[in-house]
């Protein structure tokens, strides 16, 4: 019965590695770029290159492979289900059909493409995990704000949106803690929250929602007062506590990534790898 202390929020792990040191703005751009690159990969040889890249990144960031892998466990059934569906319902050129039963067709090409999709999805999971393991939620949201700040010019409320995001992130652990407290109080009086089938459990958990909402509203009210009493009036003209400048190292990491993937694509194209 430990939710709070056993849950990892935002994944961040303190550290001093090279990946930790990359400016979060650059890191966000890199993450998006890498995800795009990965989705452009169409061959198995390409996934080998991605694998190499991921191994390098994990080595540089000192993150444990098995630890990230463990995080995959809860979503594994869904991934496998999607994989199976893809194999069964793949509609492509009529290639070598191995097996056919009514509308279910299993083709070599279908298996190939769905395996590739799986590998790519898992790679994206890994690279995002490394990102969140090495980036503090605070510096992540700060960097996000800086990246979309120019949109303020076209009346896009970037500061406000990020502020809402920051507060939401900030309150996840608090609410989980609150939920844990409520659950323990009910268990202590003989409630069996972890017994019964799925529906029974859902009904029991719904009894926790009302007190949880009430306490969340209470907290929100306090927060509003605390912010207003410190003269918070939105983003206009606010200065920053930490001002970060991009360093040569940040550009190097950027160039390295672009170079790596360009070489990957060129190699695959040039040698016509499968």
């Amino acid at each position: 019965m430990e939710l709070y202390k056993n849950t990892i929020f935002g994944f961040y792990r303190e550290g001093d590695s090279l990946i930790h040191k990359i400016d979060p703005r650059i890191k966000i751009i890199l993450l998006i770029m890498i995800i795009v690159f990965i989705s452009f990969i169409r061959t198995f040889s390409g996934t080998v290159f991605i694998g190499l890249f991921l191994l390098l990144i994990m080595k540089l960031s000192n993150s444990s492979f098995f630890y990230i892998l463990k995080g995959l466990k809860p979503v594994l059934p869904i991934i496998i289900l999607i994989w199976i569906f893809q194999i069964i319902f793949y509609i492509g050129e009529p290639g070598n059909i191995l097996f056919q039963w009514h509308f279910i067709k299993i083709s070599v090409l279908g298996i190939k493409i769905s395996c590739l999709m799986m590998l790519k999805a898992i790679s994206i999971y890994f690279i995002s995990s490394v990102f969140f393991l090495t980036t503090e939620i605070v510096s992540f949201t700060d960097a996000m704000e800086r990246l979309i700040l120019p949109l303020q010019k076209i009346k896009f409320p970037s500061h406000e949106i990020i502020m809402v995001g920051v507060i939401a992130f900030r309150f996840v652990p608090t609410l989980v803690e609150e939920l844990e407290r409520l659950m323990k109080a009910q268990i202590a009086r003989g409630a069996n929250l972890d017994r019964g089938n799925f529906i029974v459990r859902a009904i029991k958990l719904s009894g926790l929602l009302i007190p949880l909402f009430i306490s969340a509203y209470g907290r929100a009210e306090d927060l509003v007062l605390a912010m207003e009493s410190r003269c918070y009036r939105g983003g206009e003209g606010r200065t920053r506590r930490i001002s970060k400048k991009l360093k040569i190292f940040d550009f190097t990491s950027f160039i390295f990534t672009v170079l790596f993937f360009s070489l990957t694509f060129l190699t695959i194209r040039y040698f016509k790898l499968p």
Partner: protein
């Protein structure tokens, strides 16, 4: 010594087991709680007090070590958890997390319904429980939880667990957040309950005055290790040690300290206000006697 009711043997506890964040918070605790005693657990924040309490009613099951409550090992797979949790009543720090139904009666009935009490008995039991914590059953039965004051909420929360007829009362920092009057009321009702129902009481407190007022024995828990476990007089005499753990002293002990420093000769083992009053009284009488004899 009377019967041992809770036996803790070599108890370890870690958070986030099997992750890089793993942290051990209890390091091999070993102690006994005797039937009918009032044991206070004190310690600085993050010392593992609240974690330890949750082992007594099997919210936590030991992974390493054993906790035996009333001759039953909480690790035992055949354990009747409901019965154990009825026996060991737990009051949480914030009554708001414990009260979640709309009305007082509904909330107290929650535990009773979980324990499968018959419908007919429930209403009588609720009224009895309210009376035990000195709340008027007729007034409070249909009151909304939101309309209660902090002290009343605390009392309703206790009524909710007392209705289950427990044998052991476990309280997590029970007087935190109460005003002085509420605190006095609350301590009195706990004392009253203890004397009347002979409940074994284990409580965590950050207020040393509460400890002096309630406890028969005090356990000092620092960084998940038991530093001292003894009667309050023997604990509070070790002032430097307590201060070095980041704990405070009972206000009476501080007053006695100052009095002794300013040359008033009283026993430094005094910890309660009654003892202080008595010895100051006899000190004044003794002092007044001296000049009379010299005349």
């Amino acid at each position: 010594m009377s019967k041992v009711i809770i036996k803790v043997e070599n108890l370890f506890h870690s958070y986030m087991q099997g992750t890089p964040f793993e942290k051990e918070v209890l390091h091999g605790l070993k102690f006994d709680i005797y039937e009918g005693e009032k044991l206070a657990i004190v310690g600085p924040t993050q010392s593992g007090k609240s974690t330890l309490l949750q082992y007594f009613n099997a919210i936590f099951i030991p992974k390493k070590g054993r906790v035996i409550v009333d001759k039953q090992d909480t690790k035992d797979s055949g354990l009747n958890l409901k019965e154990l949790r009825r026996k060991v009543a737990m009051l949480f720090q914030h009554p708001d997390s414990q009260l979640f139904k709309e009305t007082v009666a509904d909330d107290i009935a929650f535990g009773l319904k979980n324990m499968n009490f018959p419908e007919k008995v429930i209403e009588i039991t609720i009224k009895k429980a309210l009376a035990t914590v000195s709340l008027d059953p007729n007034e409070f039965f249909y009151r909304y939880i939101f309309s209660l004051s902090g002290g009343e909420k605390k009392k309703v929360a206790i009524a909710g667990i007392l209705a289950l007829d427990p044998e052991i009362l476990v309280l997590d920092d029970p007087t935190a957040g109460l005003d002085p009057k509420g605190r006095g009321d609350f301590l009195n009702s706990i004392k009253f309950l203890h004397d009347k129902l002979k409940l074994t009481t284990v409580f965590v407190s950050s207020n040393m005055d509460d400890v002096v007022e309630l406890a028969d024995r005090v356990m000092v828990l620092v960084d998940g290790k038991i530093k001292m476990i003894d009667i309050p007089e023997n604990i509070f005499i070790k002032k430097e040690k307590l201060l070095s753990y980041g704990l405070t002293l009972p206000s009476v002990v501080e007053v006695v300290d100052e009095l002794i420093k300013s040359g008033i000769n009283i026993d430094e083992k005094i910890i309660s206000i009654d003892q202080l009053e008595e010895s100051l009284f006899s000190y004044v009488i003794a002092r007044d006697k001296v000049p009379k004899q010299s005349h």
